[in-house]
Subunit: 216 residues, 2 copies
């Protein structure tokens, strides 16, 4: 059964390379899972057709036979069941991977995503600075002692954690945190990440011409 | 094997009833799973002993035999495997429950928790108001059509989503959202929630006397 990763048909240049379908592309690439890409109209993302599949008007969502799954974290847990490359089989390892995947979603992104969002309007002071720095310091201490976040090996937890850390990295928040910087560098150097990012950017760029035509 | 829910020995009155061990107590209560409660010193929560178990100095974490798991979402997924009361057995239902549990963690709490945190300092305007209102509107549309969030039945996804919505509710953000208000009322009326909340409050209150003695 072919997997289908659903994403927008187009996004503006800013988010290209960061749209969360990259997490699913990356996971499939690591595991050698084939997939198609289905495009949903960006301009209709708040319409009923899109929201029937993803209630917040976001992407990605994943189709696997009769199943449709939204939330990139849930999609990664689903893909993790398909390949030991993504998720260990033994109980302790599975538990660690699940724990750290959820930690990236709820202890790191719960701070870093709104920190980034608030920063877009360039306030004199970001009210989340202190909280975010505390969280990143804690995570720095963990990653100072290991190459990958869970179970002594690469897994879907790293796909999520590395991707989550790209935004703070690109906004200067990892400068003094060598272990986190090295960790993001290690993750994003993996061929499956490099290909996922390039494929996503190519996908959105390919739509530029169509939109230009439609508007001319 | 007895489960052990690890939480602080004491917290100030403000967070009592909201500390996230309530999610684990609630789940165990629904499923009839016995558990012990282990207390970790609140005053040492940033020390190495605590952070060896929970890297951010937070609670809860769960012990189940040789496994120790932090992140309430990961603990709920673990408990979900123990009882069909918490998590359906069939593939479609499991997938929906996992998806909505993660949605509560990463699409709702990623906005509501920092919104609440920023609100504590009573700014003239909360920069997350618009984003949070959009998310809650989307969720209102979903819950207008169903009693429980996933798989047509109560599950760990509701434990997480109902608990996540208590903070916006208590800060007035659900006033115009009848479906969400009713949903939170429905969830928090369940006997297992009522008992979990009472047990947590009693646990922290019991430590008040000890702390008074220690300081006198």
């Amino acid at each position: 059964m072919t997997l289908t990763i659903c994403t927008y048909d187009w996004v503006p240049p800013g988010p290209r390379g960061f749209v969360r379908d990259i997490r699913l592309r990356w996971a499939c690439g690591e595991a050698g899972l084939e997939y198609d890409v289905r495009s949903m109209p960006f301009d209709d993302r708040q319409g009923p057709a899109h929201r029937a599949q993803q209630p917040y008007g976001q992407v990605p969502f994943l189709q696997d036979g009769d199943l449709t799954i939204f939330e990139s974290g849930a999609c990664l847990l689903h893909l993790g069941e398909k390949s030991e490359t993504l998720m260990p089989l033994e109980v302790q390892g599975r538990s660690e991977v699940t724990q750290w995947l959820i930690s990236a979603l709820n202890s790191i992104e719960t701070v870093t995503v709104p920190w980034w969002f608030i920063g877009l309007s360039e306030p004199a002071e970001n009210p989340l600075d202190g909280w975010m720095n505390g969280r990143l310091d804690h995570l720095e201490a963990v990653l100072a002692g290991r190459d990958w976040i869970a179970a002594g090996r690469f897994s879907i937890a790293d796909i999520l954690m590395v991707d989550a850390l790209r935004i703070p990295r690109d906004h200067g928040a990892l400068e003094e945190r060598v272990a986190l910087k090295d960790y993001v560098a290690r993750g994003t150097a993996r061929p499956a990440f490099v290909k996922a990012r390039a494929d996503q950017i190519a996908h959105f760029e390919a739509a530029d011409a169509t939109r230009e035509t439609a508007r001319s």
